[in-house]
C-alpha cells in the first residue's frame, strides 16, 4: 500500500501531441499565476481595482490544425482556464490590454474618441539566436548548443542591467523561448504605459548592429563610446569574447574565419601585415586553444600600437568584440504595442520544451538542453509520489522549481508594487476630491 515502485508500462515516448498537451493544461500549466500576473492587482477587492482590466487583454491561441484565433478575451480566471483546457492550443500568445474588451472591437471606430486601441502593454524583447548565424560556427538555423548558447546569456546580462540601472525598471521577467532564444517582459506600470515612439526609442538605444549581407561594416563606432556601451564592454562583452567565444567558436583557426575578422578592419596595411603572419603560422604546432588567443593578441597589438593615423582604427577592437557578442534584438517586436508574444510556460511544439523563466542573476547556469520537456513532465507525474499531499501537481515535477521562482522573484514583488501603486493613486484621488470640495 505504501510502496510505489516504478509503474509498469510507464513509457511515455518523447514528443509533442495533443494528448500530452491536454494533460499538461489539465494538471501542470499555472493558470492561476498567469491570471494573477495579467490582472496586475485588479482582481482584488480594493475600491481602486478596475474590474474590466483583465477582460480587455488580448490572448491568441494557435490550434493544432494551424488555425489561429485572435482577440480572445476572458473575464475571469476560470474562463481563461476552461478555454485553454477545452481548446488545447499548441501556442498561447499574449497581446496588449485594449481600451475595450477585444470581443466588442467591431463596435468601435478606427478614429475619433471611442476607438479600439491598445492602452497598456508590457515592454518586450525577443532575442533569437538565428540572428547570430553569421558569427557562430557550431550551429546554424534552429539549432542551439552549449557552445553558442552563452551568446544569449551575454545578451541577457547586457540588456537586464541596462533596463534596471539606466531605465529604472524593476519588474523584469526573462523567459526561455523553448528552442533558440529568450524573451523579456518588462512589467512596471511605467513600462506598460509607454507609447510606440518611446518603445522605439528604447529599442534604438539598444541598437548597435546595423547591417546585413549587403553592407560591409556592421558595427561602427565613429567616436568614443556612450557610458552604456562602455559598461557593457568592460563588465560583460570583452571578457566573454576573450575568454569564451574566441575558443568555443575557434574564431581565428582557419583562413575563412580569420578573413571574416580581417574584413572588419578598414586598413589594408594592417590587414596584410596580420595576414602575412598568419599564413606563415599555418603549420605551427600550437594547440588549437593557443592559436585563437595568440592571433587575437597579435591583432590587438597591431591595432593599438599607438601610431594609428587612420581614425577608423581607434575603436576597431571594440567594434569586433561588439560585432560578435553584443545583443541583437528584433526591433519590430519591441516597437509596436499590438505585437503578440508567446506566453511563458507554453510548450514549444518542435522541441517539447517548456518556456520556463530564466533568472538573470544566475543566467550563466541556465542550460537549454536540460529544460524539462512535456514528455518528461508527464513521466514525472506518473511516477510521482501519490502520497504527496500538495495543492498543485507541478510541485511533484521539475516544473515546480520554475513556478516557485516565477512566484517568488517576479510575481509577488510585482503584485506588491501594483497594490502600493493602486493605494497611493487612490489616496491621491480622494485627497483631490476633498480639496475640490473645500470652500
Amino acid at each position: 500500500m505504501l510502496i510505489d515502485g516504478p509503474k509498469q508500462g510507464n513509457v511515455i515516448p518523447d514528443g509533442f501531441n495533443p494528448n500530452y498537451l491536454k494533460v499538461y493544461y489539465g494538471r501542470l500549466f499555472p493558470h492561476a499565476d498567469i491570471f494573477k500576473w495579467m490582472s496586475y492587482g485588479n482582481d482584488g477587492r480594493h475600491p481602486a481595482c478596475d474590474k474590466s482590466y483583465f477582460g480587455r487583454r488580448e490572448f491568441s491561441f494557435t490550434l493544432d490544425n494551424d488555425i489561429y484565433l485572435r482577440f480572445q478575451s476572458f473575464n475571469s480566471e476560470s474562463e481563461l482556464e476552461n478555454s485553454i483546457k477545452e481548446k488545447c492550443p499548441s501556442k498561447i500568445d499574449i497581446g496588449p490590454v485594449y481600451s475595450v474588451d477585444p470581443a466588442k472591437r467591431h463596435a468601435y471606430a478606427q478614429g475619433g474618441d471611442n476607438v479600439f486601441a491598445p492602452v497598456e502593454r508590457e515592454l518586450i524583447f525577443d532575442i533569437d539566436i538565428t540572428d547570430y548565424d553569421d558569427v557562430r560556427y557550431c550551429c546554424s538555423g534552429a539549432d542551439v548548443c552549449l557552445e553558442c548558447w552563452p551568446l544569449m546569456t551575454v545578451a541577457i546580462k547586457v540588456i537586464d542591467t541596462a533596463l534596471r540601472d539606466d531605465f529604472g525598471f524593476d519588474h523584469i521577467l526573462w523567459v526561455y523561448s523553448g528552442r533558440r532564444g529568450v524573451h523579456c517582459w518588462v512589467c512596471d506600470g511605467k513600462a506598460r504605459r509607454l507609447t510606440n515612439e518611446q518603445r522605439g526609442a528604447i529599442a534604438d538605444y539598444f541598437r548597435v548592429y546595423k547591417g546585413n549581407e549587403n553592407s560591409n561594416k556592421k558595427v561602427s563606432f565613429p567616436g568614443p563610446l556612450h557610458p552604456f556601451l562602455v559598461r557593457s564592454y568592460t563588465e560583460v562583452l570583452r571578457e566573454f569574447f576573450e575568454e569564451k567565444l574566441l575558443l568555443s567558436q575557434n574564431l581565428f583557426s582557419t583562413e575563412e574565419r580569420y578573413e571574416k575578422i580581417l574584413s572588419m578592419i578598414p586598413d589594408e596595411s594592417v590587414t596584410s601585415e596580420l595576414r602575412g603572419k598568419w599564413q606563415e603560422n599555418r603549420r605551427s604546432s600550437n594547440s588549437k586553444e593557443d592559436i585563437n588567443f595568440f592571433r587575437w593578441e597579435q591583432l590587438k597589438n597591431t591595432l593599438q600600437s599607438g601610431k594609428q593615423k587612420v581614425q577608423g582604427l581607434r575603436r576597431c577592437v571594440e567594434e569586433i568584440v561588439f560585432a560578435f557578442t553584443y545583443p541583437r534584438l528584433d526591433m519590430e517586436v519591441s516597437k509596436h504595442r499590438n505585437h503578440l508574444l508567446k506566453a511563458p510556460f507554453c510548450v514549444h511544439p518542435k522541441t517539447g520544451r517548456v518556456c520556463i523563466p530564466i533568472d538573470p542573476k544566475d543566467c550563466e547556469e541556465f542550460d537549454p538542453t536540460t529544460v524539462p520537456t512535456l514528455s518528461e513532465l508527464l513521466r514525472e507525474l506518473n511516477t510521482g509520489d501519490s502520497r504527496m499531499d500538495v495543492d498543485n501537481e507541478w510541485e511533484k515535477t521539475s516544473l515546480g522549481k520554475s513556478i516557485r521562482f516565477f512566484r517568488s522573484s517576479f510575481l509577488q514583488p510585482l503584485l506588491k508594487s501594483c497594490k502600493e501603486e493602486m493605494e497611493s493613486g487612490y489616496k491621491a484621488k480622494i485627497q483631490q476630491t476633498k480639496n475640490s470640495l473645500s470652500w
Binding site: 531605465f167 546585413n212 568614443p224
Partner: protein, 453 residues
C-alpha cells in the same frame, strides 16, 4: 477667428507669449480677410513643402537651420512688420483645418510643423529659449552641484562620443524622465540613470519639440472632429472649397489608385524589373527570384510597390506563391503568407488599403540580418552598389556621379541620376517615390514600344 470679407483687419494683442515663437494654443481672436486666409496658408505651405523636400534629400541639421531661416524670411514676412506674428498664427490654424482630415495628412503636417518649430527654436536667442521652456511647463529639473559631480564622468563620456565640448563646472543640465526625450534616448545622446535622462542645455530643444508635437497631435484630432461635425457643412460655400483645394496641391499622388496605363500581368514582371524598376525594388525582386523568399520588410516594400504598379491581387497571390513554393511549399504559403498579401490589398483585417512606401519611408527603414529592403543607396556598401548599378547598365562616368551623391548622403539624387543614366533622359522633378520612378520610366519607354509595334 472671424473670417470677414475685404475689411481692414483689426489686430488685438497676440494671444500667447511674448517671444516671437507662438505656442499656437488657441485660435486667435482676430478678424481675417478671406483673401488673407488663403494667401497666408499658401505661404506657410511653401515653407512646409520646402522642409519636406529638404528632409527627403537627407539634409543635415546645420543645413536645415539655414534653410528654415531663408524659407521663413522669403515667405512669411508681412508688409506690415507688426503683422508678422499674426500671419504666423493664422496660417498655422488655417493649415490645421486643411490637414486634419485624414491620418496621412495629419501625419505629414505634424512632421513638418514639428520640424519647423524645432529649427525656429534653435534659431532663437538663449533668452527666447529659456522663456519658451517656462511657457511649456516641462517636467524637468536642473541638477544640483552634487548630482553633477557624481555624474560628471558619464556626462563627459557622452559629450566625447559626439565630439561635443566637455561640460564645464557651471554647465546646466536638466534631469528629465527618459520618456520625455525619446529622440535623445534613441540616439544615445544622453546619460540615463534610473529612468532619468541628463539633458544638456543645447539638447533642450528635444523636450520642447516633443511637447509641441504631442500638443499638436491632440489638437489635430479635435480639429478634425469639429471640422466633420460642424465647420465643413457650415462653410461649404466659403471656406470648405478653399480648404479642400489647399490640401490637393501639395502632397502629390500617393500611388494607391492604379495607374492610367492600366494593369500589368505576371509575365511582364521580369522584363519590367529590368527596364523600369528602381534599384531598391529590382534588388528585392532579384533576391526573391534567387532565394524564393523575402523577409517581412522586403515583402511589404516590394508587395506594395507592385500593387501601386498595377498588379492585381489575384496575380500577386499567384506570383508570390510561385516563388515561395520553391522554398516553403504551396501549403505553407497559403497558411502563412497569403493572408498578409490580401491584407495589403485591403481585403483582410481592418481593411485599410495600404499605400506603397515613399522614398522617405524606405530610406529611413532599418534592414537587419537577412533583410533586403531599405534604400540601396543608403544601405549598400560602395562595392556592392557599384556592382548593382553596373548590372543596371549605368556607365562609368554616371556611376562616379551617383557614388559621389551617395557619399554626401543624397540618396534620392543618386537614384535620380541612375534613372537619367539608364533612360538617357533627364528627370527634372527628382525621384521621391519608387512608383514615380516606375511611371516615369514607363512613360518614356511606352511610346518607343508603340512605335516598334
Amino acid at each position: 477667428m472671424e473670417i470677414v470679407r475685404s475689411q481692414r483687419s483689426r489686430t488685438n494683442t497676440p494671444n500667447d507669449s511674448v517671444s516671437t515663437l507662438p505656442l499656437y494654443r488657441y485660435a486667435p481672436q482676430l478678424e481675417v480677410r478671406l483673401e488673407d486666409f488663403e494667401v497666408f496658408a499658401m505661404d506657410r505651405l511653401r515653407v512646409l513643402k520646402g522642409i519636406s523636400d529638404a528632409l527627403a534629400r537627407g539634409k543635415r541639421p546645420e543645413e536645415m537651420e539655414n534653410l528654415v531661416r531663408d524659407l521663413w524670411k522669403a515667405n512669411m514676412r508681412h508688409p506690415e512688420a507688426s503683422e508678422d506674428v499674426n500671419k504666423d498664427i493664422i496660417s498655422h490654424f488655417v493649415l490645421r483645418l486643411v490637414y486634419c482630415r485624414t491620418e496621412d495628412l495629419r501625419k505629414w503636417f505634424l512632421s513638418m510643423e514639428t520640424a519647423l518649430y524645432r529649427y525656429r527654436f534653435l534659431l532663437g536667442s538663449s533668452e527666447a529659449k529659456r522663456a519658451l521652456m517656462e511657457e511649456f511647463d516641462l517636467p524637468c529639473k536642473a541638477i544640483s552641484r552634487t548630482e553633477f559631480e557624481n555624474a560628471k564622468e558619464k556626462l563627459e563620456q557622452v559629450a566625447r562620443s559626439f565630439d561635443q565640448p566637455l561640460p564645464t563646472a557651471d554647465a546646466i543640465f536638466y534631469k528629465v524622465p527618459f520618456e520625455e526625450v525619446p529622440e535623445l534616448v534613441a540616439g544615445r545622446r544622453v546619460y540615463i540613470h534610473k529612468g532619468h535622462a541628463y539633458v544638456a542645455m543645447h539638447q533642450v530643444v528635444s523636450l520642447v519639440v516633443t511637447q509641441f508635437r504631442s500638443n499638436l497631435s491632440k489638437a489635430l484630432i479635435l480639429t478634425n472632429r469639429k471640422w466633420t461635425s460642424t465647420i465643413r457643412e457650415q462653410e461649404k460655400d466659403r471656406l470648405t472649397p478653399i480648404v479642400e483645394a489647399l490640401s490637393m496641391s501639395y502632397l502629390g499622388p500617393d500611388y494607391s489608385q492604379t495607374k492610367e496605363f492600366g494593369e500589368i500581368s505576371i509575365k511582364d514582371l521580369d522584363q519590367l524589373a529590368r527596364s523600369s524598376f528602381p534599384l531598391c525594388m529590382r534588388h528585392l525582386f532579384d533576391k526573391l527570384r534567387e532565394d524564393h523568399h523575402l523577409k517581412h520588410g522586403g515583402r511589404m516594400q516590394l508587395g506594395l510597390f507592385l500593387k501601386g504598379v498595377g498588379l492585381r491581387m489575384e496575380d500577386a497571390l499567384a506570383f508570390w506563391k510561385a516563388e515561395f513554393s520553391h522554398k516553403v511549399g504551396a501549403e505553407r504559403f497559403d497558411k502563412e503568407y497569403a493572408y498578409s498579401i490580401r491584407h495589403n490589398y485591403g481585403k483582410e483585417g481592418k481593411r485599410t488599403d495600404y499605400t506603397p512606401y515613399s522614398c522617405q519611408k524606405i530610406i529611413s527603414s532599418t534592414p537587419g540580418v537577412g533583410d533586403h529592403h531599405g534604400c540601396p543607396y543608403r544601405h549598400f556598401s560602395e562595392e556592392n552598389l557599384r556592382a548593382a548599378l553596373g548590372r543596371m547598365g549605368v556607365g562609368s562616368r554616371a556611376m562616379e556621379d551617383v557614388v559621389d551623391k551617395v557619399r554626401n548622403r543624397h540618396y534620392q539624387l543618386a537614384c535620380t541620376l541612375t534613372f537619367e543614366a539608364v533612360h538617357s533622359s533627364s528627370c527634372d522633378a527628382g525621384i521621391n517615390h519608387p512608383n514615380q520612378y516606375f511611371s516615369d520610366s514607363h512613360k518614356i519607354l511606352q511610346p518607343k514600344n508603340n512605335n516598334a509595334a
